[in-house]
């Protein structure tokens, strides 16, 4: 069966293609009376907080009033009142959570219990509505979809508009009419929340489009970048993968996906004290194609000539990790410091067998690593930022246990440990190195 590697390749490609097709529908999700709802993002102009509307008589009870949206007067509909759902009590001053919806010709504001996030799904996964799913009349539901273990009822924005435009039935106006003049104030959206809302959306998009999680690991970089971005593009949202990619360009560490230059190898030497014992253990979780593993192995071997080096490298991307033992380099990217371990293979320069014996490449989930020895060094550049927050925290617990005191942790250029108490940053211009406190 000589075709095996290509059969595996094909299987991987088919899966990736299917996944790429999938996310073609985006919705803003929110809650009403404890249930999850969604609405097509194309219908949403923006997220807003409403307070102190101007009450207008002779409108249906669910019309809370009108609102001045930067010069345009729009109606504000309370969806909970419209659908006869319970309305949580709020004091007069507390702003309500809402969305500004729009069609070709209309704009209306709707009030909900809380706004959740933007979710990307496959339109194929949307199922037709069934009365059993919702508390609300089925005519307002365009479909239902399951995502991430939650069931979302997708509202038909157009039907909401039609209902919202209905003339009031005088017999249904509540007996207690508040004096219009008492509430006749025109209110502007809170400026304070503006950047928060834009940032929130961007965080969401970075995660959805690129798997990048904004967290304490990279928040410093993110906030700076956000400022830059808003100035450059005047607060524009990230709407597609290309924009997300551009946002992230200043995040990516230097010299990724290639062998480290000589200066980096020296940085390792100067950041580490010569360890005791004869064996140096290094962990390279999520090493991808393997460049980081080869680089750190070389750095350690040069720094500690007489010690035995063992690099434990792993990744869950089967294709990349399977090719790692036979990685072929670009001749021009090989600093001369590597020469003694490079041999010419039939496809180009690769590492000699002697060198490769130092590295164990495993198809493995790094978070399952309970039986590894204690490490003198861990290299994971730009890895944490592409894990979700729960995984990041689990990694840090693992690192606490796994790295010896005085051991080093090498993160991406724009990353830092979550808990700075245990780590001291090593002064180095090339790599971002933290030493574990003794």
């Amino acid at each position: 069966m000589m075709a095996d590697p290509t059969v595996l390749e094909k299987i991987e490609r088919d899966v990736a293609a299917t996944q790429a097709r999938i996310l073609d529908y985006k919705m803003v999700t929110f809650t009403l009376a404890g249930k999850d709802y969604g609405i097509d993002i194309m219908s949403v102009k923006e997220i807003a907080k409403f307070a102190n509307f101007t009450y207008v008589p002779n409108t249906a009870p669910f019309v809370r009033g009108v609102y001045n949206l930067r010069g345009d007067i729009i109606s504000i509909i309370d969806l909970r009142l419209m659908f006869n759902l319970p309305v949580p009590q709020k004091t007069a001053d507390t702003a309500e959570n809402g969305l500004i919806l729009r069609t070709e010709s209309n704009v209306v504001g709707v009030i909900v219990d809380s706004i959740d996030k933007v979710v990307s799904i496959s339109s194929e996964a949307i199922q037709p509505p069934h009365p059993i799913f919702g508390d609300i009349n089925i005519k307002y539901i365009s479909g239902v979809v399951e995502h991430d273990d939650r069931l979302y009822i997708i509202l038909d924005a157009d039907r909401v508009f039609v209902k919202g435009a209905e003339k009031a039935d005088p017999s249904r106006v509540p007996a207690e009419i508040v004096d219009p003049r008492a509430n006749d104030r025109v209110f502007q959206p809170e400026q304070v929340h503006e950047s928060y809302r834009v940032g929130d959306f961007i965080e969401q998009e970075l995660f959805t489009l690129k798997g990048f999680t904004v967290s304490p690991v990279n928040r410093l970089w993110f906030l700076n970048r956000l400022q830059e971005w808003k100035t450059k593009y005047e607060g524009a949202q990230i709407t597609d993968a290309e924009a997300a990619q551009e946002f992230l360009t200043t995040f990516t560490s230097r010299n990724r996906e290639r062998l480290w230059p000589a200066a980096y190898l020296d940085s390792i030497r100067s950041s580490m004290k010569e360890p005791d014992g004869t064996l140096i253990n290094v962990w390279a979780p999520d090493c991808g194609a393997g460049y980081e593993a080869y680089s750190i192995a070389c750095a350690m071997k040069r720094a500690f000539v007489h010690k035995q080096i063992k690099v434990w490298a792993s990744d869950t991307d089967l294709m990349r990790i399977s090719s790692a033992p036979n990685l072929v380099f670009t001749q021009s990217e090989i600093a001369e410091e590597y020469d003694e371990w490079i041999v010419q293979g039939k496809n180009g320069p690769t590492c000699s067998n002697d060198f490769k014996e130092m590295i164990l490449f495993e198809y493995s989930d790094a978070l399952h690593s309970t039986s590894l020895p204690k490490m003198h060094a861990v290299v994971m550049r730009d890895v944490l930022s592409f894990l979700d927050e729960q995984q990041q925290n689990r990694f840090f617990s693992l690192l606490e246990e796994m790295i010896r005191p005085e051991g080093i942790l090498i993160l991406g250029d724009n990353e830092q440990p979550v808990d700075s108490a245990s780590w001291v940053e090593v002064d180095d211009t090339n790599l971002t190195i933290f030493r574990k406190r003794a």
């Binding site: 069966m1 299987i11 089967l318 790692a324 495993e362 989930d365």
Partner: protein, 158 residues
């Protein structure tokens, strides 16, 4: 699991099943599991020793086991079985042995010294297999008779 170990198991499973069952054999996507895994109903386990410690588990439903064993028996002019009797169990065990044996031979040729220990077969409902500390590589195989999941968990002997 060390990347070099993967292909020998994947190829041997495919080769032996194709030869022995003479039917369509489809491989699913590989994956990793670390928590306790429910067993489909019949589990044939072959131990591994040598450069590593661990085991290979062949997991299938009772129904699939009966069909696979019957196919093997019939191709040798023996009678098919209708329930998983001694002959059925012995046949599935033999299959597990053959696949693991071929993988071990391929690994030998790559300079990895593995050894097999005699197989055991377990049948039951609601069984679970768990190996604390060791991650398992899952190789799903689709046959006309049903699914066989090959579950390889090995750890380098340090």
């Amino acid at each position: 699991m060390r990347v070099e170990y993967i292909n020998p198991f994947v190829e041997s499973a495919y080769n032996v099943l194709k030869e022995v069952l003479q039917c369509e054999v489809n491989r699913g996507e590989l994956s990793l599991k670390s928590t306790s895994m429910p067993v489909l109903g019949v589990a044939a386990i072959v131990g591994l020793a040598g450069d590593v410690e661990g085991r290979v588990l062949f997991d299938m439903s009772r129904d699939t086991a009966i069909k696979v064993a019957s196919a093997m028996l019939e191709s040798m002019d023996m009678e098919a079985i209708t329930e998983l009797n001694d002959m059925g169990r012995a046949t599935i065990t033999e299959l597990a042995n053959m696949i693991t044996g071929q993988a071990v031979t391929k690994l030998h040729n790559l300079n990895f010294k593995f050894d097999l220990t005699p197989p055991a077969i377990f049948t039951g409902d609601n069984m679970e297999v768990s190996n604390p500390d060791v991650e398992a590589l899952i190789v799903p195989i689709e046959l006309p008779m049903g699914k066989i999941e090959i579950n390889v968990a090995v750890r380098e002997r340090t």
